[in-house]
Amino acid sequence: MHFEGIHRTASSAPVWTLDARVESWLDIAGSCLEHGGRLVSIWGSASGFVHAAYVFPEGMLVARCAVSGEKIPDLSKMFSCASRMQRAVSDMLGFGFDQADDRPWISHGLWPRHPLKKDFDPEGQCMSFEGDYPFVAVEGEGVHEIAVGPVHAGIIEPGHFRFQVVGEKVLRLEERLGFKHKGIEKAFEGLSFIEGARLAARISGDSTVAYSWAYAMAVESVCDVKVSERASFLRGLLLERERIANHLADLGALGNDAGFSFGLAQFSILREDMLRANRDLFGHRLLMDLVVPGGVLKDIDSAAKDRIAGECAILRKKVEDLREIYVDHTGLQDRFIATGKVAPELAAKLGLTGLAGRASRNASDLREEHPYPPYDKLEFAMATHHGGDVAARVSVRFDEVFESLRLIEQMVAKMPEGETVIEVPPCSGSGFGWVEGFRGEVLIALEIEQGLISRAHAHDPSWQNWPVLEFAVIGNIVPDFPLINKSFNLSYSGHDL
């Protein structure tokens, strides 16, 4: 990063900020691309700024630029994932971007326009345009359309998928999301940073530790508070438990989606055992509301450490046995291999990130690249795969379960002494939290004025990966879509906010 005026924030992850101008907006993106970096997130604020967060080899650079009515240059030509983020910024704040696709994205027209503006009137006029949302249609002999959702045929979150198919083969998929939009970013405004933690924990229920941690890291970065080593170890312990529990659920569900219900039954037993241990040790099955600004609310004693060590040994053996069964099962592998393939070159071009990215050789993992505490004190090897298909995403999940178990064992063995939580005094400023959740990197950007939140932005890696799913299904058959979708396991709630 060779920019004038960059400033290192107090975040425990390496995050820099830069005040940019509209004229240099594209240069920063170009420089990032040149260095093999990636775009993480774009967001706006009512005070008249647009922000873009990039990852360079040295860490994250958050560029912000004052805008006053002019068109903002389009980043989607360099980073394709920018398109939907820019559309969302337009929906929320009315900023204009210089891009061809100016359809609304998060808004369905059922609430008044631009809810993040300061003078927003929740009782204002609104008119639904959802019935007229212009999906791209494919024409030709034998082509027909399948519309799915928002209510799906299972226990899953709502979204709409529009398939164009010939026979059983998918020619094109277009997603329509935003159904779960529940005004989270607006709801943050005016909360004290203590109250905000409860909301942050519910941005995406399956990543509650990741978001709570990112939120806490952002608050601590604003207030320039450093948590104890013990607290960071406990946070790592909770995050890795969350990762394992999610991977166990996905591994079972992926077996089931390929007709192997034995896998679902076995993995769901392992997951349930783990959630029950969470309840006994930490007081909550999904580990909600444990990571707070200043530290962690639960400590573990030596009996708990023994229980966790014993649990790790059992899990490792059971998951090894089940992996052998999965690998040797020809029927299962026949469904997994070559299904939903995103070749490494395409993944790199489209910016596939997180777990799915690692399964397409797009290797990035904050725990290795930019190890924030406690990962700077732990041995860790990132799991990758070159396959890019469902089988590769299954394989990376297995590898990550074993790696997380290794991390947990190290953290339990090396747990330093110290306070678990310290008080955070009310403060003002902006800060960032950047954490590797089970799907990929989550980011929280926070502005606080005298202890009250004036702007909070949450970014989920699903923003990058949802558009890539549209490519992953091309040429596959419709009945394989649930399997492919599950192998990505993207968040609707974390995306729709």
């Binding site: 369905h108 059922l110 609430w111 008044p112 809810p115 927003f120 929740p122 928002p150 209510v151 045929a153 299972g154 226990i155 899953i156 979150e157 709502p158 935003g178 159904f179 779960k180 939009h181 529940k182 005004g183 989270i184 607006k186 709801a187 005016g190 409860r198 909301l199 519910r202 941005i203 995406s204 229920g205 399956d206 509650t208 659920a249 034995f262 679902l264 039954a265 076995q266 769901s268 037993i269 997951r271 349930e272 959630l275 309840r279 099955r285 999904l286 909600m288 046995d321 089940l322 052998e324 069964i325 040797d328 968040s491 609707y492 709630s493």
Partner: protein, 168 residues
């Protein structure tokens, strides 16, 4: 095949006894026709804007510990086959119409169980007025049973489902 059987045998039977219905979870009296569903109930789940936490616990109902299907309760892909709606979330305005249409598509008798604090009264998202949410499920469709919790654990959700069917 041998290894699959070995794993099944090693695990044995995990199923636990189901919880007793709790009449205090009900928001209205038990209809006389609900009893015809006891023993074979088909459920349609609708996520009307949750954080996905409740869905994780609803999923757990199908694991061998709770073994929902062993009680004659299964999930259906279509509301037209469903006797009960299991609804989560602080109903987002974007999901209001879909929820109402799903309810209308069900045959009588229609039972509705709301899951979680958000399903009950909007939860953490609706502590103050929220432009994007309707609030609890009851503000959109009639509800029989409300299961509180953030999220409620699987046994509590199962208890809620059973409380919609019978009194004891």
């Amino acid at each position: 095949m041998y290894r699959i059987l070995r794993e099944i045998l090693k695990n044995g039977i995990k199923t636990e006894p189901e919880p007793k219905p709790d009449a205090s979870l009900r928001t209205r009296a038990l209809g006389k026709d609900a009893s015809i569903l006891t023993g074979a109930l088909t459920v349609r789940h609708v996520d009307a804007g949750s954080c996905n936490g409740c869905e994780l616990e609803i999923h757990a109902l199908n694991n061998p510990y709770y073994r929902l299907e062993g009680l004659g309760i299964g999930f259906a892909a279509s509301p037209r086959h469903a006797d009960m709606l299991l609804v989560t979330g602080p109903v987002s305005k974007h999901m209001e119409e879909a929820l109402r249409k799903t309810y209308e598509a069900m045959p009588e008798p229609k039972l509705v169980v709301s899951v979680g604090d958000c399903g009950k009264e909007g939860g953490v998202f609706c502590q103050r007025k929220n432009y994007a949410c309707k609030g609890g499920v009851g503000s959109v469709i009639p509800v029989d049973v409300e299961v509180p919790g953030c999220p409620p654990d699987p046994a509590a959700i199962l208890q809620g489902i059973l409380s919609a069917l019978r009194l004891s």
